[in-house]
Amino acid sequence: MALLSELSHYGPSICVKFVREKVLAGYGPFVHVYDSKNGQLLNVVRIFHINKVHGISVKNETIVIYGGKSVCVVKLLALMEKKDVSSDEKRCHEWIIDAVFHADDKRILILTSYNQVITCGYDGSIESVTGILGEKAILYSGSIRVLSKNEIYVNAGTVLEGIIIWDLIKEKTLLKLTGHEGSIFSVKTSDNGKLIASCSDDRSIKLWNFEDGRLLSTAWGHTARIWDLQFICDNKRIASVSEDSTCRIWRILETSELVLEETYNVHLIKSSWGVDVNEEKLVAATCGNDGKVVLTNLNQDGTMRQSLGSGLSSELAVRDMELGETEIIKGAFWLEFGIVVVTSMGRILKYSNSNSEWSAITEEPRFISFSVMTGIQSQGLILIWSSSGELLLMRFSQNGELIQRKNLSIRSMSKIMNCLLVLSGSDLMIAIESPNSRDPFMCVKLDPKTLDKTMQLSWPKPLKFVSTCLAVLDEKLVVGSRFSSVAVFDMACPNNEPVVWRNLTPGDAISSISFVECTSDEKSLFSVTNRDGFYAFVLLDFKKKSFSVLHNNRVSKGFLEGAFYNESGDYITYGFRSSLFYVFNETKQQEIATEVCGGAHRLWKFFPNLENDVSIFLYVRAKKLHVKKFSGLRTIVLNTGIHGREIRDLTLINKLNFKGLYLLCTGSEDTTVKLNLLDSKTGSIKTVWTQRKHTSGLQRCKFFGSNFMISSGAREELFLWEVNTSMNSNPYIRMLASLPTSSDSPDLRIMDFDFLGFEHFNDFLLATAYSDSAIKVWRYKQKCSKFELLVSGHYKDCCLLNIKFTMFDGKLHLIVSATDGMLILWDLNIVYSSLYERLISGSGAESLPTQSLPEFVSRISVHKAGVRAIDVKALSSKQVRIFSGGDDNALAMTDFKIIEGNHYACEVICRNQSASASTITSVGLFQNGQTLATTSVDQKVQFYNVSENELNIVGKRATTVADTGCLAALELEERAMILIGGMGLSVWNYEY
């Protein structure tokens, strides 16, 4: 057997625990140790052979870790320094629900799923086994609370019979709490022994009196099952995590009522499993099914300590701004010293952070009723304009003194609808637009120091154009507009008509446009966002007046107001979602900040990325100005994880890489396709983009050619993607084409597809296999980015599982596998040759008629149930071999060959009926077809040596990845990287 080693693992994390400033997180059989101060991963240590880590308890320097039937007592130092402590793994006869330290620091207490407590030494020597007669009920959850040597209470959360609280020392049932419906998922006693908190299937949190078992209160808020909870803040609050992927903070009032205080969207799609809070720092660590470990600062505003005060206030104090009865705020801007505001009475006021006071600057009757304010932070500059063409520029010093003011009047326009202010190099520019189509589009250049007008340019206003945002690069005004359009006005050639590009993204108004980078051939990459939730990276060629979209995507929900790359190269988006303003790290798929502001329809301004990682969100709600300060430190992602649900397929190829890292695409049940970068040395994976185009769970994704990728799923969804690795900022991916659909059945899945390119031509053939037994062959027409149906038909009515093109006897064939256990062969050469002839003869643009699928030429029954996975190897020009794994646990090798007189023969060469204990979900050849790897749902990966007539097993390893469903091998020099996908993703190194 070759040398096999695990390089990295990504997958669900079930538990997380603070040890002072270190964070321990369970990942499969491993524990990750992080430093919460700088977010660094300090060590990865194997705890168990196979079982997963479900819980961690800490006492001083000693840690007890448990999961499944395994338990391990270990020193913190060993977790910091060793790579493997599984030799200390101890096994219990039953599933362990909780394991904690006894009061004497010499023993541990283990609660089993049958409501028994085992008291044993650190070495596993059993002292006693305690249970309560008649209370053997199976537990989903439970905890042991050690108050002192003689006060040890077991909180048992049963599947069917509510909560049982019993006294371990007296061996006696104290309370039976039966208020919940369904299984209990967590139950804890507060460390002062006064309260019990519990949660269950019924999605409520209940608070009970420990003394008499009285139900004190019930709280609702989570929208799915609640998995874990914990008393925090001196037992005055509760932190809970749920299947709804949020972490919530609840305040316990004097009346014992529970009030929902904060909701943090910490994880993706499904299930936040564990939570722990560092009481000193008031930081919550959570972990989830998506493999994320996230730190959330609960005390961002510093109000958490005032536990009975006004709660978590979101505002900085903005007091004493006196407005007249009918006076409202028309504009506001944040400068270094504080805030500048213009009101509907034309009053201009400022607020100084240093003395927390408002003062009037001036009163300008021309700004009565209508005015708009904008500005430039770095220049201390404010621009106020009115629709009649009055512009006022004001500059403030760092301590808030008004040091410069300048008036401008625009008389050449009938009315002003928009003024956009931008600083580019040494130019300050104001782009001015009128609602009147006969008025020009104007740009005024100012000297940034004196604010004197240096130049005034105007162009005829383009048709269907309503400006929304502006960027300036090399004398070009790049103006975003409604109708998803962008216009470029060339200031160097003011006589040239503006260039207008339409439909850059779906949706209507472009909400932001910002420059990203230049290419060596002088093209410029811009990030463009559309308010309707779409964003794109667009490469503009000012010389050729052309553009190309390199990347397109949409945000998960809500309106998108803008986006930018932060200092770490993460793409940050912000906008509104129902009543919230959100800031989201699109790269890490992490909500960074939210503010309940009432929604998008209000005056607001966002100032991202200020000094010290602070952002400011100004908004007006109910006539009042609110200021929300977001610290970039609210949320720290210790581990970005990967998909929130099962990975259904993964793909990578040698030739596609970016700065030495391999491009890896993963398609998941969570409906997203991720573009990731894989480090071939360490196996570390970093997600770059999460593409939201599919509306259903993925079935397959595969790279194709030099830079294409295809993904398929239910609702007949199949998308062709183009990958671009030529930029410096990031690799990019865009959806190029989608396959036409035939019905509106949401269940009709494209189970698999294959493609075949033609030398010297960009068109290619695509074969698709469907869940309704349909087989289709398409031609992709590169010229028009469309698929044309060439062949259509059905095999039978059973679901098809795999489809592969193969050239065989010099002719194009199609191999299909199905749920009826068959491998089926079609001769499709007529399709291939007629298309090839057209391409050669130059008449490729014409459409070909759709043919019906011919009768298959051969088939053979190989499996007793569905043929889940196949791989194909050509043995000679007349013989092709299929490796197949099935639902029936079998692995087989089958040959199709051409014998004399164009007859087909097929034969099962070998079949191992019990190759695995469960469905074989993927098979893959590597090492030039000499080695075959298989995965099966029993979480085994097996390697076989392929000989002429046999498959000889050379290796078998358990994988941590549950629901093991797909694999990919990347062949490198003298080794291969094996990637295993399912509920998580593992990267193994296989040395030849």
């Binding site: 196979i50 479900h54 096994r91 085992i118 019924d202 059945s745 149930a865």
Partner: protein, 303 residues
């Protein structure tokens, strides 16, 4: 089984409603029986974790096919579940805990002291999404069913139970192999290929000699099987170190015929305008019903 639009797609789901079965899982037992013929000539049958009762419906139809048979008076079907069940012809329903000795006594009373020929269980816990925990809970459910089964199944009898073919399924195969002549993993066509669900068909019950199974509320499943040598871990004076537990792979059989309806396939022949059939039995009250009500009223919104 509610009145959802899902039945327009799932053929077994729709067929179950048309034929009056309470759940599509009825076809799983029908297809298993077609393959193994384990219901031929049986007299006393126990259906564990029976609610809503579709397997009991199949058992009832199958055992009482011939309404005039003189043997009918001998035949007895007992369906046990913690949940209440609507009555089914020729089936005695017991709302009881399968791990409790009283339940065993009650069944033996109904069987007038004679042992059962066939015991089945289609039970499954609510899954959490933690694969290892879900699989463990399912195995505990099977072992609980097996406990009761060993107390009431005659030698040579048949035990059928739902399993999930996950990580440790081969350990269960190994354990069952000690108690039965033949252990088969069977997958009916009506069970989706994409699901881990399969059925363990254990034929020819052969309890170890000198082992007397004894149900007791205070003994765990582990203690129950101690001494019957099925290779389960037992508690001694020290927690054991890590060792591989015995595993074996059961024979696999696909049943229902590869030509019968494929539960993974998409069928188009159900006209989209055909009205949804009313459920045979209305769905039970889920524990999160109150939470759903609050959500509908908009009371679960964020702060």
């Amino acid at each position: 089984m509610g009145k959802s639009s899902k039945d327009k797609r799932d053929l077994y789901y729709r067929k179950a409603k048309e034929l009056g079965y309470r759940a599509r899982s009825a076809f799983k037992l029908l297809q298993l029986d077609k393959e193994f013929q384990f219901l031929d000539g049986v007299t006393r049958v126990v259906d564990l974790c029976a609610a809503p009762g579709s397997w009991s419906q199949v058992l009832s139809k199958r055992l009482f096919e011939d309404a005039d048979s003189v043997e009918n008076s001998e035949k007895k079907i007992v369906a046990v579940d913690l949940q209440p069940m609507f009555p089914i012809d020729n089936v005695t329903t017991l709302q009881a805990d399968i791990t409790h000795p009283k339940t065993l006594n009650k069944i033996m009373e109904l069987f007038e002291g004679q042992k059962a020929d066939f015991v089945c269980s289609d039970g499954a816990p609510d899954v959490t999404g933690l694969h290892d925990l879900d699989e463990y809970v399912q195995q505990q459910l099977i072992l609980s069913a097996l406990q009761l089964t060993t107390c009431l199944l005659r030698e040579g009898g048949v035990f059928v139970a739902k399993i999930f073919r996950g990580r440790d399924i081969d350990m269960l195969y190994s354990q069952l192999g000690f108690l039965f002549e033949r252990v088969v993993c069977a997958k009916p066509r009506s069970s989706r290929g994409t699901s881990l669900e399969s059925f363990i068909v254990c034929i020819g019950y052969k309890p170890p000699k000198h082992w007397v199974p004894k149900l007791d509320v205070n003994t765990s499943v582990e203690t129950f099987f101690e001494g019957c040598g099925i290779g389960r871990l037992s508690l001694e004076d020290k927690l054991a170190g890590y060792s591989e537990e015995p595993r074996s792979i059961a024979e696999f059989i696909s049943c229902g015929g590869l030509d019968s309806f494929d539960s993974d396939a998409t069928y188009h022949d159900v006209p989209s305008n055909k009205p949804a059939l009313d459920p045979v039995q209305p769905p039970t009250n889920p524990p999160y019903k109150r939470a759903l009500e609050l959500k509908r009223q908009g009371k679960l919104a964020r702060t």
